[in-house]
C-alpha cells in the first residue's frame, strides 16, 4: 500500500523515482493527446469530441500494464498514485469556501447515510441469495457503501476475513470502477445532468476514490469538484461503518479483538482519512482570503498535476487478466449491487437536482 511505500525513507525514496517518472510520462502523454486532438480539430475546422486527458492517461496505463507489463523497478513508484490522489484532494480544498463545504457536505452526508443503509441492506441480501460467505458479503457491502478498496482493507483486520475473500471483493469493486469511467459520463450526458448533480452522483455511487474523481473529471472540471466533495464526505464515514461491522463480527465470533476495538473511540480516529483535515484547512485558508485569486489558481493547478499522476496510476494498476480470474459469483453480486446503488442514487439526485444550488 501507499502508506507503506511512503513510510520508507532515504534510499526508499530513490526507489520511488522511476515509477513516479513513469506516472508523469503517461499522464503527460494523456494531456498532450488531448491538446493534439483539440488543435487538430481547430486547424482542420473539424468538430472532434473533447476527450479529456483523464481517459487517455488511464488508457495508456492500461495498455502498458496489460500488454507489456510494469517492470518491477517501476512498481514502488507506481504505488504512490494513491498519495497523489490524496494530495490532489487536499489542494482541491482551495476551490471551496468552508461554508459551502459544510452546506454541501451536510446535503451529501444525508445522501451518504441513505446510500450506506441501502447498499448494506441490499448487498447483504444479494450475497446471501447467491450463497456467498458472510464475510465476503460484508466486504462487498462495505466496499460498495463507502470507499471501495481502502474500506475493504480497513475492514479486513476488523472482521478477520481471508486474503482470498479480500481479493475477490477488491477485484469486483475495481472491475466495476473501470466500467463507471465509461458508463457514468455516458449516462450523465444522455440525461443532460448539471455539473453539480452529475458530480454528486459520481461521488456517491462510484466506490473507489480515484475512479470517482476520474469519472467526475471526465464530465467536467466543476463535476470533478463536486465528485471529490461527495466522495470525501463518504470516505469520512469509513470508521463508523467498519466499527459497526467489527462489533457485529466480534459478537458473532466472540473474538476479543473486535470487542476491544469497539471499546476504543480511537478506532474511529485511526480509520478516519486524515487528508480530509488538510482539505478542510486549505478551504478555511481560502475562505479567510489568505490566498489571492492567482494563488488559488496556482494551487488548483497543482491539484490537476497531482491528479494527472493519479489517473496514470489507475490505468497501470488495473490488470484485466487478474480481474477476470476471480469467481463469477462475487463479480455478479458486486455488479448487481453496484447497478442498483447507482440507479437508486441517480434517482435520488435527479429528484433533488432542481433544488440544488451551485
Amino acid at each position: 500500500m501507499t502508506a507503506g511505500v511512503m513510510e520508507d525513507r532515504g534510499s526508499g525514496f530513490v526507489r520511488l523515482l522511476p515509477g513516479i517518472a513513469l506516472l508523469a510520462v503517461i499522464g503527460y502523454a494523456g494531456k498532450l493527446t488531448e491538446v493534439a486532438i483539440s488543435t487538430f480539430g481547430k486547424t482542420h475546422h473539424m468538430a472532434l469530441p473533447n476527450i479529456e486527458y483523464v481517459l487517455w492517461a488511464i488508457v495508456y496505463g492500461l495498455i502498458l500494464s496489460n500488454l507489456i507489463g510494469v517492470p518491477a523497478v517501476f512498481r514502488p513508484g507506481v504505488d504512490t498514485y494513491e498519495f497523489w490522489l490524496k494530495l490532489g484532494i487536499v489542494f482541491e480544498g482551495v476551490r471551496f469556501l468552508i461554508g459551502d463545504v459544510f452546506r454541501l457536505g451536510a446535503t451529501t452526508l444525508l445522501f451518504t447515510v441513505f446510500v450506506l443503509c441501502f447498499s448494506i441492506i441490499f448487498m447483504t441480501w444479494l450475497g446471501r441469495r447467491f450463497g456467498l460467505s458472510d464475510k465476503l458479503t460484508s466486504l462487498l457491502a462495505i466496499g460498495s457503501s463507502i470507499c471501495g478498496v481502502s474500506a475493504i482493507i480497513a475492514a479486513k483486520g476488523a472482521i478477520d476475513a481471508d486474503d482470498e475473500e479480500v481479493s475477490y471483493a477488491i477485484g469486483a469493486i475495481l472491475a466495476l470502477g473501470a466500467f463507471s469511467l465509461i458508463g457514468f459520463p455516458f449516462i450523465g450526458h444522455a440525461l443532460h445532468m448539471s455539473d453539480q448533480a452529475y458530480g454528486l452522483w459520481a461521488g456517491l455511487a462510484v466506490d473507489n476514490t480515484a475512479e470517482a474523481t476520474a469519472a467526475g473529471a471526465l464530465y467536467s472540471d466543476v463535476a470533478a469538484k463536486f465528485a471529490i466533495l461527495a466522495k470525501t464526505t463518504r470516505n469520512a464515514t469509513i470508521g463508523f461503518v467498519v466499527l459497526g461491522y467489527a462489533i457485529y463480527w466480534g459478537r458473532k465470533m466472540g473474538t476479543r479483538q473486535a470487542q476491544s476495538m469497539a471499546q476504543h473511540a480511537s478506532f474511529l480516529w485511526a480509520k478516519f482519512p486524515k487528508f480530509v483535515l488538510g482539505f478542510l484547512l486549505l478551504s478555511l485558508l481560502a475562505t479567510l482570503h489568505v490566498f489571492d485569486a492567482a494563488q488559488i489558481k496556482d494551487l488548483a493547478n497543482l491539484s490537476r498535476w497531482a491528479f494527472l499522476l493519479t489517473f496514470a496510476g489507475v490505468g497501470l494498476r488495473t490488470n484485466i487478466r487478474e480481474l477476470t480470474r476471480q469467481g463469477w459469483k462475487p463479480l455478479l453480486v458486486g455488479a448487481a449491487g453496484e447497478f442498483a446503488i447507482a440507479a437508486v442514487t441517480l434517482g435520488l439526485i435527479l429528484l433533488v437536482a432542481p433544488h440544488l444550488t451551485q
Binding site: E7, K297, N301
Partner: protein
C-alpha cells in the same frame, strides 16, 4: 528494526500540500500553469 512511528500517506499529503501552499503564498514557487 525500528519502533518509531512513521507518517502515513494521508499525513504526508497534508504536509506536502501545506508546504506547497506556503511556497505559493510566499511567491517562492513560480506560477503554476496547466
Amino acid at each position: 528494526m525500528t519502533t518509531r512511528k512513521r507518517l502515513s500517506a494521508d499525513w504526508w499529503a497534508v504536509l506536502v500540500a501545506l508546504l506547497a501552499a506556503a511556497l505559493v503564498k510566499s511567491g517562492l514557487l513560480p506560477h503554476i500553469s496547466w
